[in-house]
Symmetry: D2
Subunit: 337 residues, 4 copies
């Protein structure tokens, strides 16, 4: 960490700062320039609150040189983390497709979709039981009942399941869920992160609506610092000024995150745009960018299930997307399944 | 709600949409234009999922004409909501100043600051016991012990207190807290919103880091729909591309929100910029914009409490800010206290 | 266009609005609702200033139903526009790769790079003579001398060239340039758009740093309304709050723009991130998203040309990218060259 | 400037970088850490292209310690710049109000408005002759004829005038204009900045729609580096994800820019929101934030001049705003006129 001190500053305040640095167990290297003094901090600076230092009167600027995340950092863990979910590997040269309905509606619906997407090549079943909704008047999901349906279909089809947890008080009900999803709006619900950090189960951590890559990694770090290293990252679009799409899918995050971290990273092309017509092109784009997998919404009967069908692919469209992906995978050195 | 249908569309799909609209108990007025068909929805459209309709293949565009929030909507509640906190009124022509340390450190510290800010004109004491931190390695606050200190100082000084709740499981411990704060990162933690919606206590709802005004109002609506109408909104800066300030304080939100809602709205000038030198000018700007109050960080001994002192005002600086505010208040038809 | 009027409004102001609508040659359909009155405008509303109407006291909301762009609108021109550049076709099922150095340095440099990229499959040579730079102290390009070098290399290699115009006063010097580039910072330099609208030459219109897709299309419309229909759009990354990348490449813009407009659209993967390591993955992602081509920076001797080499690919890296693209093109129904 | 080098790097590349630094006339201080090597650059680093260095393979991070702007930098020019416009001073403890119609319509209109706003306290007359418009089909202003009207009214009323220049070819026609405005969309039209840098006349430089404060200062630097030090900055709202307001007025930029630069800075409360009802609160907020002045749209006959009237204040509303400002000015140590 490099702290630039304004020129002509009160020596007392600088000394206070230097004492405080020493108290944190860090060494301070000082070099005097013409217009400013530069203090270099040597040691484990992950504990230093950068905003705090920035706000000091005598400080002009602060730059972190080492990243604030450690367990998620590729520097200290150069090999790709590969996470095993019911025999399917996520990370490395594997490419997994998770698919299923946005919301769980009935056992019949979920079973039909599960079988169709498994047939096409999906290995993991997704489905929402608890649904985070902007409006208190919107349908909030079937909750525990939806979860039970998912678990039944898991038994029937043998597919591992991924579903969202919104409240730590339901953790017991999630005992047989294969991957616990933390949604974008809860990416900085630190108490929830701590709770799933104590679970021995893969966590799918969606990027927050307006989270920087660093904040996203710090949220992964929360889970890992509490003991759970099985974190799968999921890019799902960020908030920008653009209004033609609901969110802007940030695919450049894929190769960049792969440099910063050893954790696997997948893409959700359905939620980013909110437009089913964009799912195919953005799925192929995600493959090109180097993603470790996709999580796609599929619905079997859009006309009679307006809600989910609308932003979802139909099974036959999904099948075509998987076929196109298969042509592309060798280019990115990935193997499906 | 106005739905524009693409031209040359499959009549069957349009009929499905019209049936679905009818099922929701709404009336559909259809008018055919040269390039598109427009469907106007009449009735209570707050239940309609706008994203869902937008994502339909036959739909070109959807516009909401009536707002999705009702209880928070000034249209249905034209008079300002005035919330009574220990005898102090928030809203209407009242102007309240909440002040105190960022984090609770000790009873001695909080008492000293409380007495100083009360002397200058603050009516409500703020202080953080549970601290949401981006890093799992940063100090997370004193927790329940910090809360106990705040309650003790409340007893000693008679000042009502406001402090942040991060997890509904601590609600019992918050029984004697006067205002429960929901932080920016939890603004869309819907389970937490539901929980504080069942409490009979004012809720200070901070705007999310990247929340639109509409999402912010929808989060207020969550609390109100669960039975608690005592919501105080708090603008604290939004995320933009600018990096010189930590966040961009959106003061135009103040007069605009006052048109949209009857709820009181205050400003946090300390967190937005993260720079104590900006607290005075942004406090005065907030008064000019028409805010119903301020929540300001004040620390008594910055050199020995580097953490809080840094981004906080010293009591004597705070005193000068209050004096400046007093000159301005008549211009905005407000009375302090 | 749909105008929602606030309830309980002065009839005189509403009548003024209706008269003004009539004066614009438009028809107004009025329907009274419980909480608001809705006015539907029928006719050519592209002349209506939406911001103006929005700002009226009696107006609650305005929604455009037909887009403000016409010549660029796919609705009125359903077939893809295909632009011929020296025998190479841009648009439709064609995929063209433009490549070359960021800045023109010398004839020798440009020739060597041109030959290398042509060998690998690039059909059009890019190179900057006039360089828009944030700092007045940075190298601003060789200017007219750089242009002369590009034209010489065009003659030697037979490759059409694309280069940026920053000031209409140089239009004569651009007589033999094949594609005139309008840079991101000039996307709303309306006088420059009008000037190139009067030229009979393809224009490469880069998306502005923070331009919405609609503003981008309106800038294309400026060129087309002045008589030049040969507009090639170029996505190059937009400004967001993320700081790990210089800009966020918005690849979802590709399939969405293809719905809105018939104009071809290519992607610049070099400038978006500013990191040469991301050029390959983002090139492949752009292909997956359905782009009509790429414009890539290539430099032959990075160690001795630090400036350009740094964010550029080396010819051998570029060659590998083209080979990977070739595997992918059938998936998106495109043919290179 | 601090360059962090990745660990285990090719020594040859590092040496190339060090040679290049030396070639730029800078000194390089190297210190080896456990996980990275840090290179400190000493000397005038304003010529160093930070993006270029960032993009090098061996570089992990680059931080500028000294700002890239010099002439605009308060460090090298601690006293406030005060600019004299026809006897009125802008900067220091002066507060000037510029007012007038959005677009020039007729001599009668401009004269009436000019007299009204002068009466209320405006000292400088604003009015648009050349209007930058997103749509090629929208009214583009009266152009040179509008300019002639403004100059006539200047003669009649004695008020200095400020108006926008969009194209350097009209510079001769602007000979008697008192302040040349560069609009937000042209803030990085570098050729236009160079052109007005050669003029001996105050330049009102509006902040770009999505410009960082640093880019804004660099554009001021362009003008100053070309010889013209009379730059007045104007905050007019930045682009964010929020859609309730057209732009988000960034008032925290005022106190922050006052730390970074000695140039005066004013606020445009009319364009930021596009809503006339917000002009009063945002004007008062701008005063509180410490602005050196305001530029406000005023129209005398809104019902018959729908275009301008709509987002403008009426003269009597403007008069009330000035009266409110007068109460506030002592708090910020400013004197009007």
């Amino acid at each position: 960490m490099i702290i630039t001190i304004k020129r002509d500053q009160d020596k007392k305040q600088l000394n206070n700062l230097l004492l405080w640095i020493k108290d944190l167990g860090l060494q301070a290297d000082i070099s005097e320039g013409e217009h400013s003094t530069v203090v270099g901090l040597v040691g484990d600076t992950s504990k230093v609150d950068i905003d705090l230092v920035k706000s000091l009167d005598i400080v002009e600027n602060v730059t972190r040189i080492s990243e604030p995340y450690k367990k998620a950092n590729r520097k200290f863990h150069p090999e790709d983390t590969i996470i095993n979910v019911g025999g399917y590997k996520i990370g490395g040269n594997h490419f997994q497709i998770m698919a299923g309905p946005c919301s769980v509606e009935s056992e019949k619906q979920v079973t039909a979709i599960a079988k169709a997407v498994r047939e096409s090549g999906a290995t993991i079943l997704r489905g929402g039981a608890f649904k985070p909704r902007t409006s208190p008047y919107a349908f909030q999901g079937l909750g525990v009942d939806g979860l039970k349906i998912l678990l039944k279909v898991k038994e029937e089809t043998g597919m591992p399941i991924v579903t969202e947890l919104m409240n730590e008080k339901y953790l017991d009900e999630f005992a047989d869920v294969d991957i616990i999803q933390i949604g974008a709006r809860n990416m900085q619900n630190f108490d929830l992160l701590k709770a799933v950090g104590k679970v021995n189960k893969p966590i799918l951590l969606k990027r927050g609506l307006a989270a920087t890559m660093e904040e996203w990694l710090m949220s992964a770090e929360y889970i890992m610092a509490n003991g759970n290293n099985k974190v799968i990252l999921c890019e799902r679009g960020i908030r920008t000024y653009e209004t033609y799409t609901r969110n802007t899918l940030d695919l450049s995050a894929i190769p960049l995150m792969k440099e910063k971290t050893h954790l696997p990273i997948i893409v959700d092309p359905s939620h980013a745009s909110g437009i089913s017509r964009l799912v195919r092109p953005m799925s192929l784009a995600a493959v090109g960018a180097g993603a470790d997998g996709l999580i796609i919404e599929v619905h079997n009967d859009p006309p009679h299930a307006l809600c989910d069908g609308a932003q979802s692919l139909r099974p036959e469209q999904f099948d075509e997307v998987v076929k196109a992906i298969d042509v592309m995978l060798p280019v990115v050195n990935k193997v499906r399944g």
